[in-house]
């Protein structure tokens, strides 16, 4: 019996691949199985190959592997695209009646199951249900109780009426029965169910949920792959809490809308991807110099320019760290898992307000738009704390007036953090500007005031470095000679890679870093290791540069920039060969 099952549905964009994949993922999750999904997709509405892939197990799954066990192929190309992952015994479900699929050759050793998907869909009420027929067939092949699929279909189609739900359930059963009656498809897959209740969500949704939990009430954004899910999640939900989503005319507007919302006292955010960050960068400097708390989510995709909009990359680290003219104080947080997208979003809002500073919250595509199961307790709403920092009310404003009774929004305090008065606070009226300013927020070019203000803004960062925990997450063997460091979504693949390496590879200590700036000092950890490897999805090793800068030690770089996330087994092999190479040259 297989411990995990790797399943996929593929076809042309517009075939309902994503929606169908999500239904099956939901069914598995409802059955108490863990799920980790990934997508192969193109940036277009119709046409072009696309696939939704699911890895499922009763144990946690954190990444993809280089194997595909059951494939629903709506096009011949789907089979070709996955030849590397298919293996002897893989099952391929396809519509043998479809003209374009009649002559499909199933590779040797694999099991082809031609099922009249379209015809059976029509029998159930419409050809559009052919994908659900295929899901029923897949249930039969994998010994997965079809009742779980019913629950997922109800969730997906419930708002379209009971008739639609029933038709879909019927479609699934027709697929199941067809396979049962026509084929002797005895496979050794047995998708065991458990009593566990899991939730299934992606990183963008986790960011959106974290935002509402943290009290974000104002969101402004412009649609961009792969960040749009954040806006779509918030739309229709944030309003329930008295908030609003504004779809702006462009990213220039989005960031300035969010800035306005924050100046009015709302917890505000925007989410975008690299090209959007480019456009927002001028205002980013304004946010920092006016000391406005704002969270900017950057869901990274492959660049530069339009790059590969639907592909994985971690290429924006330097953009977030250094983007903008002049010296701009900022924080950069980079959650490493879907659940951490939730927690780091809450943290980002607190940090932004405590230190009155813009905070980049970056997720990469690999975790932002693919679903993963979690124990619902991972998202403990009772544990959410909202810290608004040094907000002064009408009683406290007096303490911050100058001798002429004017409020000092940029008072150069010892910890660098100034009082913040929301508009409407009596006697708190003040100006702020992107020009260098004095404590009152008024333009100045006086040398000593300039230095005071630069220093106080910098002092906030130093205060944060002292007061907050900028820690890392650690896995593997703490005493291992080999230290692997990564950031962002590589954590999942690397954690599973460690399991692969336990059999015949080097012992590994793995540090996953969720803070880019400020960040943990890894000097001691690096010094204690024989070999240091930094894994990331970009070509130049942007985080490796930071580690070298911090620790004054050369590190080995393992980089992937094909546009596809690391697979656990692939990454294990990369680590194994890197260590072998380093030992040979040592």
């Amino acid at each position: 019996m297989h411990e995990d099952l790797n399943w996929a549905i593929g076809g042309e964009a517009g075939d309902g691949i994503d929606s169908t994949g999500k239904i099956f993922a939901r069914a598995l999750s409802r059955a108490g199985r863990h799920v980790y999904t990934s997508k192969d997709f193109a940036s277009r509405i119709r046409g072009g190959y696309t696939a939704y892939k699911i890895r499922t197990s009763v144990d946690r799954v954190e990444s993809v592997v280089d194997r595909l066990d059951i494939l629903i192929a709506l096009t011949e190309r789907t089979i070709d695209e996955n030849l590397d992952e298919l293996h002897e015994g893989s099952v391929i479900i396809y519509d043998g009646e479809q003209t374009t699929m009649q002559d499909v050759e199933i590779p040797e050793g694999m099991i082809g199951l031609p099922v009249p998907l379209k015809d059976l869909g029509e029998e159930a009420g419409g050809a559009i249900m052919r994908n659900v027929v295929a899901l029923g067939a897949a249930c039969e092949v994998s010994n997965f109780p079809i009742e779980n699929l019913d629950e997922a279909l109800e969730k997906r189609f419930g708002d379209k009426g009971q008739a639609i739900v029933d038709n879909n359930k019927e479609a699934a059963r027709l697929g199941q029965e067809y396979v049962r009656e026509e084929f002797d498809a005895e496979t050794d897959y047995d998708l065991e169910c458990t009593d566990e209740d899991y939730v299934l969500l992606n990183g963008d949704e986790a960011i959106g949920m974290g935002a509402i939990a943290a009290g974000c009430r104002f969101y402004a954004g412009y649609p961009i792959t792969p960040a749009t899910d954040v806006m779509e999640y918030l739309t229709g939900r944030i309003e329930e809490y008295g908030g609003a989503v504004v779809q702006a005319e462009d990213e220039l507007s989005a960031i300035n809308l969010a800035l306005g919302g924050a100046r009015a006292g709302a917890r505000a955010m925007t989410a975008t991807s690299g090209p959007g960050i480019d456009l927002m960068t001028e205002t980013f400097g304004l946010i920092a110099t006016t000391e406005t708390p704002l969270v900017i989510a950057n869901v990274m995709r492959s660049g530069p320019s339009t790059g590969m909009p639907t592909k994985q990359e971690q290429g924006d680290l330097e953009q977030m760290l250094y983007g903008g003219h002049g010296e701009i104080p900022r924080f950069v947080l980079a959650p490493t898992t879907v659940a951490e997208c939730f927690h780091k979003t809450v943290e980002a809002f607190n940090l932004a307000e405590k230190y009155q500073i813009p905070v980049y919250l970056t997720a990469d595509l690999a975790m932002a738009v693919t679903e993963q199961t979690y124990d619902p307790d991972e998202f403990d709403m009772d544990a959410v704390e909202v810290d608004r920092g040094k907000v002064v009310d009408e009683a406290e404003v007096d303490e911050w007036l100058d001798e002429k009774g004017r409020f000092r929004p940029h008072a150069a305090t010892e910890d660098g953090i100034s009082p913040r008065a929301f508009p409407g606070t009596i006697d708190g009226a003040h100006m702020t500007t992107g020009l260098e300013h004095d404590e009152l927020g008024r333009r100045t070019e006086e040398e000593d005031v300039r230095v005071d203000q630069v220093d106080k803004r910098q002092r906030k960062v130093e205060t944060a470095q002292e007061r907050e925990e900028w820690d890392y997450r650690e896995f593997g063997d703490p005493d291992a000679d080999t230290l692997v460091i990564s950031w962002g979504s590589n954590e999942g693949a690397m954690r599973e890679a460690i399991e692969f390496l336990e059999a015949d590879g080097p012992d590994v200590r793995f540090i996953s870093v969720p803070y880019i700036f400020p960040r943990p000092d890894l000097t001691e950890e690096v010094a204690a290791a024989e070999e240091v490897i930094v894994v990331e999805c970009n070509a130049t090793g942007q985080f490796a540069d930071l580690v070298e800068h911090d620790t004054l030690t050369r590190v080995r770089r393992v980089n992937k920039y094909t546009g596809v996330r690391y697979k656990a087994d692939e990454l294990a092999e990369e680590i194994r060969s890197a260590v072998a190479d380093m030992e040979a040259t040592a």
């Binding site: 009430r217 507007s253 800035l259 009015a264 205002t283 009772d382 002429k404 508009p423 992107g434």
Partner: protein, 287 residues
Amino acid sequence: MSSDVRFTDFKSDKQPTWCPGCGDFGTMNGMMKALAETGNNPDETFIVAGIGCSGKIGTYMHSYALHGVHGRALPVGIGVKLANQDLEVMVAGGDGDGYSIGAGHFIHAVRRNVDMTYVVMDNRIYGLTKGQFSPTSREDFETSTSPEGTHQQPVNPKALALSAGATFIAQTFSSDSQRHTELVKQAIEHDGFGFVNVYSPCVTFNDVDTYDYFRDAIVDLDEEDHDPGNFDQAKDKILDSEKEYIGVLYQDDDSVPYGERMGLEGSMADIPDGAPEDATDLVREFY
């Protein structure tokens, strides 16, 4: 306290550095008077200023204010207003800020119809950078960057606004203090996006669109039997390139502001010190 507010309460103790005679003095005084006379007070007013000579206005006035990046004043003002419906929001900028670098935001602000006021100090020149042509400069206007004219049509911002679905369009002249104040007041009181284009002459770099020119050219719509509720009349006046009209060119009395359409009320600043009470429902949605 609003009944006690005087227009000088909106004045900061910072002395303007505008050139003597600059139209922006009159524009600003009218804004302050209009704010005070409509019952607003500085602690509940938010001014957003753009970049340019006109952008300095936030410094010379007293209220909550932000002086932002070039061309983006409108989105900031919209963000402020949507996040706190109780604030009076006024955005002020120049013709370069509003109709050139910020032109994209202008038409979207107009069609979004947020309940706020937008005052544009239109002097048909770039003053702060010392005299280049602006988007409202005439085609034959000679400047350091247009020695033989601009070779392009000037923008007609009122026509842009009308075509974008404006609900209030007014034109004023900064030196006609009483009329200017009155029109800004009407813009403030309008339920929606009150757009006021102000002829605010630059005495240093524009020797064509001068006070004398405007005094001669201006026709007050009050003397023209103009019906601001009539779209066709408004269109004809706005497209009339022979005259410089002042007054309310167009007003839609049925305007419903964006915030109201969105169902927004009060301030978004008030949030609990933890997750909202029923936030666990958000998690359950993912079962």
